[in-house]
Symmetry: C2
Amino acid sequence: MALIEIGAAAKAAAASMNRLTVGKKNEGLTFVAEEIVRCAHEILEENQKDIQCAREAGMKESLVDRLTLTKERIGDIAEGIRQVVKLEDPIGETVSMKMMPNGLQIGQRRVPLGVIGIIYESRPNVTADAFALCFKTGNAVILRGGSDAIHSNMAIVRVIRAALREKGLPEDAIQLLSDTSRETVREFMRLNEYIDVLIPRGGAGLIKTVVENSTVPVIETGTGNCHVYVDESADLDMAVNIIVNAKTQRLGVCNACESLVIHDAAAENAVPAICRALCAHGVEIRADERAYRYAGEVKKEIAGEAGRGAIVPATEEDFGTEYLDKIISVKIADSIEEAIRHINYYNTGHSESIVTKDYESAMKFLNEIDAAAVYVNASTRFTDGFEFGFGAEIGISTQKLHARGPMGLLALTSTKYVIMGNGQIRE
Amino acid sequence: MALIEIGAAAKAAAASMNRLTVGKKNEGLTFVAEEIVRCAHEILEENQKDIQCAREAGMKESLVDRLTLTKERIGDIAEGIRQVVKLEDPIGETVSMKMMPNGLQIGQRRVPLGVIGIIYESRPNVTADAFALCFKTGNAVILRGGSDAIHSNMAIVRVIRAALREKGLPEDAIQLLSDTSRETVREFMRLNEYIDVLIPRGGAGLIKTVVENSTVPVIETGTGNCHVYVDESADLDMAVNIIVNAKTQRLGVCNACESLVIHDAAAENAVPAICRALCAHGVEIRADERAYRYAGEVKKEIAGEAGRGAIVPATEEDFGTEYLDKIISVKIADSIEEAIRHINYYNTGHSESIVTKDYESAMKFLNEIDAAAVYVNASTRFTDGFEFGFGAEIGISTQKLHARGPMGLLALTSTKYVIMGNGQIRE
């Protein structure tokens, strides 16, 4: 099917979804969850084809694992949809209906965005997740998944469409681009007449491609060069605890800590303690000149022991790198001002944390750091739709427009002004 | 100065503006208003150069008028800035700080967007207006005005920068691109590292160019193919009143009505009455086949009388045209459903109004029309930041992301999450 037809079908579905009650939407989602479980066998069969192709193409096993579905993982997908059923539907609420001096009543009503395009990489669970969030908020979705997962994605979408059809709901609420070629995705990114917003989900390369080539409005998600700053007055145990958690609790995620900034006045004690703890987790530390010196003792301790991390000199490039790995950079700063300047220069606008006992430092950091989430005395790993209490997440926005930080259902909505009069004209 | 330097200067100014109190910002704006009045002579002299160039180039007098400043118009510009001083500053408010089960406090704080780029056409008053709104919300602005107004714009910006400098405020809070070439504006639209959002203000061509070429997030403003739908049950006097107001009160604006849809059951009486009233205002009516027939009588009445408008057959193209002129298209619909389909197909997502006495029709129209502002029994001309009570307007958004409808100060802000903990880590 041509892209324009896909777009038109999505737009038509969106128009009718705008009129669905939340009861009807929840009924549809619940049935979709059941059908996904019932058709697990069919989905797993198709998933096997993707896995086989991936192995034949020599894909790394860690990536093959991300691609792989099991009966249990399909159960999780269905459970994820049931969780979305339980969330409150934001659509239809009219906030602050005001009475104007001329008698006009003006209110702002929450409405779906319309048609959402999602461009993602190889994880097939995103297919059902994204659909559930879009459907709950009355949006039609057009998915462009990675070519690696095409068989799995097509199977999941087939099951969802059949379930919607059976319930008398618009099946074009979800469509998948079966053609995953570069030309098609580029055309997709310029389908302004049919798509209201594009959300890329994936690595830095994917996001950059979408931002640079899309004429449809984009919500930029994700890359996170996140910092923890250890202030002069920091509680050292707390700092070590937070840093180890932020770096090692999960490596490949955007809210993991990639870089430390340590106040020089605290560095003599803090650097060895932090390095020792990180090295015990096998982390390689890329230290600026002063930090390297402060870490000298630890360097000796770990010398020659396998799996005990490493301490090496940092290059300028390290401070701008999102490792997504057991690596962290360390910079020493002479003041909180220098730390804030450094962080605001190198960060990607994701999550930044200060460890401090000082009120002024805490307030300064909260006020002056420019990022989606700014923390005092907590791990950056909390930047997440579930941890923030949204009950779901479509991604983490690192841009300032529309939505910033973890995006729940509200990020998938727009508003319209509704105005009720009795014949008012403008003088 | 190279674009990158301009971007970097704006970003640095934005970082320091984030820390200005509202008192300091208002003091700066008040002084800018005074200085604009004091330096009126200098601005008018430069404006004369633009006017002379425009006349030499054969610019239409209506456009020369838009370009022209007078002592009075400069007074209005200063008064506009003083109005912005009086508005409440949305920056710094933290909304809904929640206490999470683990003791983390999570709140959302309103912050400036950062650096705003504004691309506009020849009206030099936009220069000061846009600055005032951006400055009040702590944003640095980079302006790219039309080449026609370059002398006027440079003079206004010079006065504003000098005033800021004198008050110890960052003068790079406002910068103007002196190079108005196409190549420079294209580069400007791809300055993602320095610009957080671009707002084009002007005609359809300008907006299309920005949407198609910008990689910086854009807030699409304004073209308005606005409709009034006359329902079967409409009060005919009210309909005539609203239509005449929406079409003729001001012609060249985006919230003017460009197209009518009339229920067939009302058309026999409504079409002649509406056509008669519009023709009395010199409006040319482009009617579909049925409307043309219903208007036959009026066509005879006005035949041969100068300045009495005209009634001509519409082409398909008419229904998609924003005339910004004394022209209107008319379509007859057999049902409200057909009317809604027609409007949702041809509209530009701006402002749409129904005239009706019927509750069901009113609700249906409010629910199903997809536009920034949907009216019952009122003129589309009310879609405006001042009429909506925002006290200011930077433009009217016709996209669904970030801001939709008239944009006041709030549209120039973003949020960041501030999170206060006491050592929390993620399990």
